[in-house]
């Protein structure tokens, strides 16, 4: 007969000889909003001038403004310059593998409805290697907020063509200029069934913050493409959207019906640098809610039955 050689154990929580006493859990109301100082962790390793700094700064601001607590945020990323994000935030975080951040984050979101799950990443991470996870997280409408810091280039690996690089972009993998039609992230999101789709730039901070707040408040998969300049490998990429560099930042007109999929789809083709704001936003049951309902239904007849007895009933049927 089989036995269990390694039994279940209560495990030590930390290997550190604690000098500080463990904090008593505070009622959330007692706690002050976190300041930037409290949310900032490692100094970012980004190049000075990189657009990603702004996105990070706004994340700190969002946490402060919305009075989120350290322990209830979870920051997830894949691999890339932008994906270093979690190291720079003082909160639970995970730096996963290239392109798979959404799948990892879905695991967190689905099993932990109490957390705010934010995912940050780059265009390569999101639309090249991670493209399929993007589609399926969108169609399943898994509750989390995904901000893609789109710089139209592979930053971390030092200037290869990215799936969003415009035709003609000269990179190390397209020395004469790229020829592949780029992905249109907005179209990709809308057609896949994302329920919140927005577009912003790292240069218009109030607008980006507003969008991040709206995304966070959305009950479902919320996606923001944030144009974020790679000063090192694609400088000036988004000047056309920066008024102080002679560009224009065109917000989506307020008449736009964010629940109109076709109108949203058309907006995706607005001439360069495109339009900014919420393209699309609809309510649709989240995967989180659908699974929760499945659980509720399944447990309807099991109220108060301990787990082992549920299993025992199955085993009894196999006798």
């Amino acid at each position: 007969m089989s036995t269990i050689a390694i039994p279940n154990e209560t495990l030590p929580r930390t290997g550190i000889a604690a000098t500080l006493p463990a904090p008593a859990p505070l009622a959330d109301a007692d706690r002050k909003p976190l300041t930037k100082k409290e949310t900032a962790a490692d100094h970012p390793t980004w190049c000075p001038g990189c657009g990603d700094f702004s996105v990070l700064a706004l994340y700190y601001k969002l946490i402060e403004k919305r009075k989120m607590l350290h322990e209830n945020i979870c920051t997830v990323a894949g691999i890339g310059c932008s994906s270093r994000f979690p190291y720079f935030v003082q909160a639970h975080g995970a730096h996963f593998i290239h392109g798979r951040a959404l799948a990892f984050a879905s695991g967190v979101s689905l099993s932990r409805p109490d957390l705010h799950v934010f995912v940050f990443g780059g265009d390569g991470d999101a639309f090249s290697i991670g493209g399929n996870h993007f589609t399926h997280t969108a169609r399943k409408n898994i509750k989390l907020t995904y901000v893609v810091m789109d710089n139209f280039v592979y930053g971390l690996t030092k200037k290869q063509t990215s799936p969003t690089s415009p035709i003609g972009f000269k990179s190390k993998t397209d020395v004469g200029g790229s020829t592949d039609r780029p992905v249109n992230p907005m179209k990709q999101a809308i057609s896949a069934g994302a329920t919140f789709v927005g577009r912003a730039t790292a240069t218009n901070l109030p607008h980006l913050l507003k969008l991040m707040e709206a995304a966070m408040d959305h009950d479902g998969f919320s996606f923001i493409e944030c144009l974020s300049e790679c000063i090192e490998f694609f400088p000036g990429a988004f000047d056309a959207a920066v008024p102080r560099k002679g560009g224009t930042f065109t917000e989506i007109p307020s008449e736009h019906d964010v629940t109109d999929e076709y109108a949203a789809y058309k907006l995706c083709d607005a001439p360069w640098p495109g339009v900014f704001g919420t393209f699309y936003k609809v309510d649709r049951a989240t995967k989180n809610a659908n699974e929760a309902k499945l659980i509720t239904d399944s447990r309807a007849k099991l109220a108060g039955v301990p787990d082992w007895q549920i299993l025992q009933r199955n085993f009894d049927r196999m006798k």
């Binding site: 050689a5 390694i6 930390t14 350290h70 879905s106 399929n132 399926h136 239904d297 787990d307």
Partner: protein, 600 residues
Amino acid sequence: MSDNTSTATTNDSSRTSAITESVIRIAGDSQDGIQAIGGFLARLAGRSEQEVMTFMTIPSTISGGPSIFQVRIGSGEVLSAGDEADVLLCFYDHSYANHISSLKRGGIVLYDSDHVTPKEDMLSVYRHVGVAISSLTVEAIGGTGRDKGKNIYALGLIARMFDLNVPKLTKLIEERFGGKDPSIVTNALNCFNGGYGHQIQGLIESFRFEHAEKTGAPQVVMSGNEALAYGIIAAGVRFGAGYPITPWSEIMELLRRELPKYGGMFVQTEDEIAAISMAIGGSYAGRVSVTGSSGPGISLKTEALGWASMAEMPVVVIDVQRGGPSTGMPTNQEQSDLNIACFGGHGDSPRVVLAPSSVEDCFYTAIEAVNIARKFSTPVIILSDQAIATRIEAFPCPDLQNICQDISPDFTPVADHKPYDLTATDGVTRHIAPGTRVASGKYPVATGLEHDELGHPTGSGKLHTQMNAKRRNKLRKLASELPVPKIYGATEGHVLLVGWGSSKGPIEEAVKLGRSQGEAVSGLHIKYINPLPNGLENLFNGFTHVVVCEINDEGLYGHGQLASLLRSRYCDPRIKSVTKTDGLPWKVKDILTRALALTK
């Protein structure tokens, strides 16, 4: 009736012999529901406290096709599904032609005379009993013109032949077909009774299993896939993700269906990479999660598995092995994923590998995998295989009340926390789940980059060296805690047969057979593949030869995958291999013959 049934005696009924065990092979097309016959027999044996073991083949074409179900029922210890059948039930000429040789000389072939024409030259070798199963079934149901119930009719015939417990069987049939349209149960019972009532021409005796000795816990009967899935639930896992692939799918289907009852969830993802990523996300969120697949999907999971190794994130990965490489032989038995389980993935990425040896062991191994994953903060791979996945066994019902675990996360606030603490007394990384407050305000990052103790990236060669050691040494610690396996048979002798995974039963039978022939053979089963338990070298020392029997290729240098691992660790040239890749489980005789030939 088997070779080792020397105790057969004549019962009070002049035409009934008492037997201790029997091997019944049912051969037909998968569409005929031959698995159902086998399933009923196995379940009945379980309810009768008999030991039972089955073996089945799955047709590799989509639209079904030839398939067998073999069931061995015994009052004593049943270790394998049996090399040779005592009774062959066959529905078609092709079943007859392909399986007659699996029958013991003098065994009974029970055939559907509507479809099978016995071969002249076989008549003297086997006892032929023909029954017009198809037409009698149609008759029994009442002339619908379809022979859909012929499996149940055949079950009736077998019940008569083995003097099986009719009330129990009736109950099983009712349970199985109940709930649906009541005419279905009626039809099934009509078929069964038709078969049971049929006077079999030419069969002069019937058999009755001796009363089983064992008492104790009531038996449960299930397949290896079921046992693994229920073990995962008993272990307290409440989240998982997977993508379908044969023969893993059944596990995910069961978990997807059952977990919600426990407040849990199983997600069907877009591919295997998403599945393991999501499961790792679930583990990170606070509770060990599960994923799994078969060969092709396991290959896809290795990158994320490496992350779990690096980030020291517990996760359980089930690999139900099938014939490889590539798409290979998807419905056949093989044990060729040991290498990828131990070494798959780039870099040095330590992980734990366990291989259950029986259906019962599947249940307990699942729990153990979860416990090891938690205790050592590591990915754990369970190497099951096609044979054990589809094999149906009876085993004592586990003490669920005591076994079921709660592994829900602990959110007690902490003063400070460094997951990758290099000074941890037990040497093991501990993660705190998101949701846990840290008073120092310093929060950890789980990462696949080499890192410092808090999980922040480092380029320091020194830290890389230390962290590599940390990841490796905790598994050495696990090794020291693992039970040293016991030798089956004498601890000294000529040949030690070593096996892993589902080959345990056949190897132990081979030991029995060998010893009955006067050979100094013993057996050793290795369940903990990576790390290996300590002290195996002492066990080897009692033997002139150590022969590892595994169902994989002999490789470039003539050694199977476990043999290569053992040779590398022990540098003991006594370690040799007997391998094969014919897609089937071991035959007891083959093991013995080949091992003896190798060590002549």
